[in-house]
Amino acid sequence: MVERVLSSLKEHWDHLLKEGQELSFRKGQALFYEGHVPYGIFVLRSGKVQFVRGDDSCGEEPHLVQASKGKIIGLSHFFEESPFCCTCVALSDCKLTFISKTQLHPFKMASQC
């Protein structure tokens, strides 16, 4: 399904980015938490974020993955309506574009047809 959405988003991508909201997060701040339903998707413009899975306190090993500039974050979770499998934390000061649920609504509807 994500592939279908991606091809549909492709032709509107520049417009969505333009209409999206510029956000900034400082080092150490959480963009979202594991288990949460996405409010929209993020596009990383500068800086690095890390994805942390599991919780030390539960005895699970933290699973770290880094993402840098240009990375689209949360796309598959948003369109599949599944909760985030990781917590996303800014590894450095970051700038992102946020594309909201309302802006993505038409694409979501189209993908479900």
Binding site: Q21, Y33, G35
Partner: protein
């Protein structure tokens, strides 16, 4: 899909406690379509001071503290929000960044309505706008009272005033008196009235010795509200 994500604005009792209570049916449906609900664990941050706002948060259950961090790293708690309260609307309306950080004091279920969806709802609902103005006016009064209190009242009076305020909002009758159903740490109590943690500990122990309160870990019971009111030097 989590249990929280199935919540609907149409049947939400918490919505009726806050400024969204007068929303018309179609506006409620509009909000519901564009909202996302999440369960936050204790201590998770909903938004950070200085960051840009992208939605309006509404508390379904749980409690959230809003605080600013000073240059020395000390927190000043501005208010505690509970079910039905909105978070982040000042930043949204003024198109400024958040003036405070919102962090859960306990496990909480919180809905976020996309700002792109909320503004059209607000534009079409004068009752909602009026409720928000009332809420803003109340918050402004409370902020002014806190500023006056910090400038003019002794730390003992401020702590007594805080306990009376917590009693009014979170008090529940118990066998011994009125128990405050909000378990704040000594540090958080201090941060609400601009004093140090050490001073908060000393004051609580003085109040305990004077028979005004009983303290068991984070649970505070008001034993003598009349005497506490006199200590606060505020009118009933």
């Amino acid at each position: 899909m989590t249990k929280a994500s199935k919540l609907e604005c149409q049947t939400c009792n918490s919505r009726l406690l806050g400024v969204l209570c007068d929303l018309e049916k179609n506006a409620v449906e509009e909000c519901d379509q564009h909202k996302t609900t999440n369960e936050y664990k204790k201590g998770q941050v909903i938004f950070y001071e200085g960051n840009q706002a992208y939605g309006l948060y509404c508390i379904f259950s749980g409690r959230v503290k809003l605080y600013q961090t000073g240059v020395d790293g000390r927190q000043q708690i501005l208010r505690i929000a509970g079910p039905g309260d909105l978070l982040g609307y000042r930043a949204l309306f003024s198109d400024e960044s958040y003036h405070a950080t919102a962090e859960t004091l306990e496990a909480s279920v919180i809905c976020c309505v996309d700002k792109n969806a909320f503004f059209p709802v607000l534009a079409k609902n004068p009752k909602l706008a009026l409720n928000i103005i009332k809420k803003l006016a109340k918050e402004l009064r409370e902020a002014e009272e806190l500023a006056t209190s910090i400038a003019q009242r002794s730390v003992r009076e401020r702590m007594a005033e805080l306990l009376m305020m917590l009693k009014e909002t979170y008090g529940k009758p118990s066998k011994k008196g009125i128990v405050i159903d909000l378990h704040l740490s000594r540090e958080e109590l201090a941060e609400m009235i601009g004093i140090t943690q050490e001073t908060a500990i000393r004051l609580l122990s003085e109040f305990k010795k004077d028979g005004l309160i009983e303290v068991h870990e984070r649970e505070i019971t008001i034993l003598n509200p009349k005497a506490l009111l006199e200590t606060a030097r505020i009118e009933a």
